[in-house]
């Protein structure tokens, strides 16, 4: 390489020309972490999220729950790219108001679940980078849980773990709630107290292993009488 082609930075113009586009590029997405766990049972549904909002190794805030009560029988939990969470939930809230005024009734959890899938798929080629978990009580008073992928695939389950600790917690719930791979299976159905205990335990475990989960949890209890909430502290580090 002749000296005349060298720049003060120590690399040549020809190298620069062959280097292709510069790496630093705008990315519309970030991962702001957070976990959601939902459990459905006879006459109740529980949904919980942690309260940490972070980016990389920094914590934005220790007090940002990720639960959105949509009406008296449904709560949505969202985590992932926080700007998408904000935009998506505002859209859902507006659409639910329109529904309420047009039909003079609240949306059922099944209707919300279908609408959410449609909203997510409407952004199929520029997705909301969010993991959604919807919990509610259906017309029969049974708990229901719906889980989604970012582009709108919808699945109805009895329990689901989503967000940054989703992969960590789902097998734990499979074992503790569905009693998979167990020799002796309990006969009594899952009680609300037992479900609450499992949720608190799995969040404590998640906070130990996932840096994006911690600080505290907010737990919403949905029954036919409405929604109540509980909170608990988690690792604060």
């Amino acid at each position: 390489m002749s000296m005349s082609l060298m720049r003060p930075g120590g690399f040549s113009y020809s190298e620069l020309a062959n280097a292709g586009p510069v790496e630093h590029q705008f990315s519309p997405y970030t991962d702001n972490g957070g976990s959601i766990v939902a459990v459905a049972g006879k006459g109740f549904a529980l949904i919980a999220s942690d309260t940490r909002l972070s980016t990389g190794y920094s914590i934005y805030t220790r007090d940002q729950p990720k639960l959105y009560p949509l009406n008296s029988n449904t709560v949505l939990g969202c985590s992932g790219c926080w700007c998408d969470v904000l935009s998506e939930t505002r859209l859902i809230e507006a659409r639910m108001k329109l529904y309420k005024h047009e039909h003079q009734k609240e949306m059922s959890p099944a209707a919300v679940a279908q609408m959410l899938a449609t909203i997510l798929y409407s952004r199929r080629f520029f997705p909301y980078y969010v993991s959604n978990v919807l919990a509610g009580i259906d017309a029969e008073g049974q708990g229901v849980v719906y889980s989604y992928d970012p582009v709108g695939h919808c699945d109805q389950n009895l329990f689901h773990a989503g967000g940054s600790s989703g992969a960590l917690l789902q097998p734990l719930l499979d074992n503790q709630i569905a009693h998979l791979n167990m020799q002796i299976k309990p006969t009594e159905p899952l009680s609300l107290e037992k479900a609450k205990g499992i949720i608190k335990d799995v969040f404590i475990s998640a906070a130990e292993r996932d840096i994006y989960t911690g600080d505290g949890i907010l737990l919403k209890i949905i029954t036919k009488d409405g929604i109540t909430e509980e909170s608990m502290k988690l690792r604060h580090d």
């Binding site: 705008f26 519309p28 702001n32 940002q64 700007c83 904000l86 935009s87």
Partner: protein, 259 residues
């Protein structure tokens, strides 16, 4: 009645001018990287108000290009914003925000833009631009006091960045400040408020001044001249005249091996 075109919120919009789109001449240009930039901004919420701080430097890469640029802006008597990132994008948004403030003022109905509503508005504008892959390369802190449903004045401190990521917290720092100043500020606030203690305006100012000094020593894009804004729940928001850090570099000659 359902809107046949789908959801439209346009009929709710007021006379605030729409953000003009890029000129149609030549290929469309998008901001891929910021140019003239400001570094960290800090904010603390105390019992009775909010304190914000930003230095007065607008850098051009490593060049200290403009050394007397204010990065704090008083929107009205109870709202102040601070900006990190591209200074041109800040000025562009400022021109729109100023027009919004004037429009509100002209209505003369006793209502003003609140910090909460401005924060929410910025969230939408910045999110919209990021969705067009044409971001306004800025991070804002919005501070203000606002009446809640009971007519009580409440302190508000919010963050919004170029993606539309938004949250509120008693302690916020952006950029290098989030690494160097946040731990110091959180610890200081925690120490003051534990056992039912209260953080006063002076406490908040002292913490912020300490953090601006730390940033000046370690952030190569920070400057010795900076401004502090105070937004109290009682009284009007004010931006204090710039103060200067008297650096103590006595230890500098002890550091060897980097000549």
């Amino acid at each position: 009645m359902a809107n046949p075109q789908g959801l439209s919120f346009e009929r709710f919009s007021t006379s605030i001018p729409a953000i003009p789109s890029a000129p149609a001449l030549g290929p469309m240009k998008r901001t891929q990287t910021p140019v003239t930039t400001g570094t960290s901004v800090l904010g603390i919420r105390y019992e009775g108000g909010i304190v914000l701080a930003a230095d007065t430097l607008a850098s051009y890469g490593s060049l200290l290009r403009y050394r007397d640029c204010t990065r704090l802006h008083k929107v009205n008597d109870n709202t102040v914003i601070a900006c990190m990132g591209d200074y041109a994008d800040f000025q562009y948004l400022l021109s729109i925000i100023e027009q919004k403030a004037i429009t509100e003022d002209c209505m003369d109905d006793g209502f003003n833009i609140t910090a909460r509503s401005l924060h929410s508005w910025l969230t939408r504008v910045l999110y919209n631009k990021r969705c067009k892959f044409d971001p306004l390369w800025t991070t804002f802190l919005v501070a203000g006091t606002d009446e809640d449903d009971d007519g009580q004045k409440k302190e508000f401190l919010g963050y919004v960045d170029k993606l539309g990521t938004a949250y509120t917290d008693p302690v916020i720092a952006t950029g290098y400040g989030s690494m160097l100043a946040t731990p110091v500020m959180r610890e200081a606030v925690e120490a003051k408020t534990k056992n039912g203690g209260q953080l006063t305006e002076q406490d908040a100012i002292d913490i912020i001044k300490n953090c601006m000094t730390i940033l000046y020593y370690r952030d190569a894009r920070a400057h010795y001249r900076y401004e502090i804004a105070v937004v109290p729940t009682t009284g009007k928001a004010r931006i204090e005249p710039p103060t200067e850090i008297k650096g103590d570099w006595q230890v500098a000659h002890l550091i060897k091996g980097y000549e």
